[in-house]
């Protein structure tokens, strides 16, 4: 490090030969492909709009290094044997975590950035199996594993995520095309958000954290939620508006007030958080198409 400083001072002093030096600087950079390397990094950074650009660049260049290192070893899939297999599975895990890292960079509501990141993740995972299967797309096994990781990263418990994963997972031998891959990722991300919101909803209905919520109130809320999700067919934007009108605070309050009037003051049966979450999850999952 101190070496840097000293020659830095030296460079400033040796200003006279600057013209000649600048030329060789450019040559050097071009020769080493620095321009291309940096342009690629900047493009990726701008696409992802990472919240922590320095961390992003560090990760990006480190990924490149490990790719270059694992490249020759992992690519030669001709010789087999237990060691080869072990290596490729380690490589697979690495690609998987890299793909997950890309997916975590932007929230799915930032749709264009999120889509870009899905594409990057997809390409990473496609590369991973290509030496063996040779077919286009991500291996079904990897795809399913990735969705599982996404769900647990999103804070979902195994039991909550399982019914959703049963619908959108693929068979191990299948090759997953990009569009399906994107849908799967998006569904998991939206589902994780949805569950978080429904937990907030339960907390609001329960009003006191130590006591479970009234069953009748929960039913009313879930009923309103179901109604909102059940929109008529039409253009997407119209359906969004319709749904948000149906789940508006006023609407929700009215539904809850109605139940409250009828059940007046009596201590009715209650519903715990788990049951509420499951019921809300079921509403969501019923609307997810089964993949295979």
């Amino acid at each position: 490090m101190a070496e840097k400083r000293r020659s830095g001072v030296g460079a400033a002093v040796a200003d006279s030969g600057k013209a000649g030096k600048a030329e060789s600087d450019e040559e050097l950079l071009a020769q080493a492909g620095v321009g291309l390397l940096l342009r690629d990094a900047l493009l990726k950074l701008v696409e992802a709009r990472s919240e922590d650009p320095i961390g992003f660049l560090a990760e990006h260049f480190s990924n490149l290094v490990s790719e270059a290192e694992s490249g020759p070893g992992g690519g030669a899939g001709a010789e087999d044997g237990p060691k080869q297999e072990e290596q490729s599975s380690a490589e697979e895990q690495q690609q998987l975590s890299r793909a997950l890292w890309h997916l975590s960079l932007a929230h799915h509501s930032q749709r264009s950035a999120f889509n870009n990141n899905i594409r990057v993740a997809y390409d990473l995972l496609t590369l991973c199996g290509s030496s063996r299967s040779g077919s286009g797309g991500v291996q079904g096994r990897l795809y399913t594993e990735m969705l599982q990781c996404l769900c647990s990263e999103g804070g979902l418990s195994g039991t909550t995520a399982a019914p959703l994963l049963r619908r959108i997972r693929c068979h191990d031998y299948e090759a997953v095309p990009y569009e399906l891959f994107r849908q799967g990722v998006l569904t998991c991300a939206a589902f994780a958000d949805y569950i978080r919101k429904s937990q907030c909803l339960y907390a609001a209905v329960a009003s006191r954290p130590e006591r479970p919520a009234e069953r009748a109130l929960c039913r009313a809320v879930l009923g309103t939620l179901e109604e909102a999700l059940d929109t008529s067919h039409g253009a997407d934007s119209a359906r969004f508006l319709e749904a948000s009108a149906k789940i508006s605070p006023a609407k929700l309050a009215r539904a809850m007030a109605e139940v409250h009037v009828t059940s007046k003051l009596q201590e009715g049966p209650t519903m715990d958080a788990r049951e509420f979450e499951d019921a809300a999850a079921a509403l969501f999952i019923a609307r997810v198409r089964v993949v295979s």
């Binding site: 101190a2 070496e3 830095g8 900047l42 320095i54 660049l57 260049f61």
Partner: protein, 329 residues
């Protein structure tokens, strides 16, 4: 860099400017060119990976030039943190140092670190009085943090303060009617004779206006408000002292722990031993841990005495001479 989702609405140029990404990229290239032989052999991609990892971890500012160290908020915070990491031991030993000695310490980490910055820091600690006094590390470091991290902001605050002392309010437009202007200024100067400082509420109003212009390169407005509302009148240095001591401001910068934890960190002791050993052997030697730990005992016994030696060594030679003599006492 607290941007949340706002970053998606910025233009590409604004996003890159806001995050200083281009600054670091261009510095990385400059460094690469200056040490081409070394790094090309090392591998260019790996070089960039290492560069950005060290920026991320905050140890990229070690031994770099002052202009680099102060170039971004992240660099400033990193430097404050490194200073603390390296010289915490002094606080632990309870040594008190002078302005010049702190200046020497800083120059061990950044060779062209200006003495002026250290003097400004001492003005905060000593309330602009008795400048040759000794200071404890804890007093010094929080004031240093404020001075170094918010340098430009403090300069502007001083201008406002002096304007207010002279009786003109920088934020209000002065109506040039001689009859009203004159008695006003005379009353103000009378007041300053008897009372020190300026009216806190007026000062606060002016600083609020300043903060708007500084975007987010200022201490949080709520902390400033809290400080200024606790007193009717305030002087420049008592205001700065309060800022330096405010834990919320320090937490926002994120470079130093709370004052009570400043000297407690057993985990870091080991690393500190290693770092200080490197620095003490030769401030210009390569930072790799090759020679670490060889010359520990004399320095450890009294870091303050060896400080003068180090300083002398630095001035006399290029630092290759190891300090061998600790029998000064």
């Amino acid at each position: 860099m607290k941007m949340n989702t706002e970053r998606f609405t910025l233009t590409t140029d604004d996003y890159l400017a806001e995050t200083n990404a281009l600054f670091y990229l261009s510095d990385a290239v400059t460094q690469l060119l200056e040490h081409r032989e070394e790094y090309i052999q090392f591998g260019i991609v790996r070089y960039f990976a290492e560069y950005f990892t060290s920026v991320k971890n905050g140890n990229h500012v070690l031994f770099r030039e002052f202009n680099y160290i102060k170039a971004t908020p992240h660099n400033r915070a990193s430097f404050i943190h490194i200073f603390w990491k390296c010289f915490r031991q002094i606080g632990k030993n309870g040594d008190l140092l002078t302005v010049l000695e702190y200046s020497s310490l800083l120059q061990l980490l950044c060779p062209d670190f200006p003495t002026e910055m250290v003097q400004n820091t001492a003005r905060i600690v000593l309330m602009d009085d008795a400048m040759d006094c000794l200071m404890s590390l804890a007093d010094f470091i929080y004031s240093f943090q404020l001075q170094f991290y918010y340098e430009e902001f403090l300069e502007s605050v001083l201008v406002i303060y002096e304007d207010l002392l002279e009786g003109k309010n920088p934020n209000t437009v002065i109506v040039p009617t001689s009859s009203s202007a004159e008695p006003l200024s005379s009353t103000v100067s009378e007041e300053t004779d008897t009372q020190e400082g300026v009216d806190s509420s007026v000062f606060l109003e002016c600083i609020n206006g300043l903060c708007e212009r500084f975007k987010h390169k200022h201490p949080s407005v709520s902390c400033i408000k809290e400080i200024l509302e606790s007193n009717l009148r305030v002087s420049y240095y008592s205001f700065l002292m309060a800022l330096a001591k405010h834990e919320g401001i320090s937490q926002d910068i994120g470079a130093l722990p709370n004052r009570s934890d400043l000297l407690i960190d057993p985990e870091m002791d080991q690393e500190l031993e290693r770092l200080v050993a490197q620095v003490a052997i030769s401030p210009t030697s390569n930072s790799s841990s090759s020679a670490a730990g060889l010359k520990e005992p004399p320095r450890k016994a009294s870091p303050r005495k060896s400080l003068h030696q180090r300083r002398r060594i630095e001035m006399e030679s290029d630092g290759s001479t190891e300090e061998t003599d600790s029998s000064e006492n």
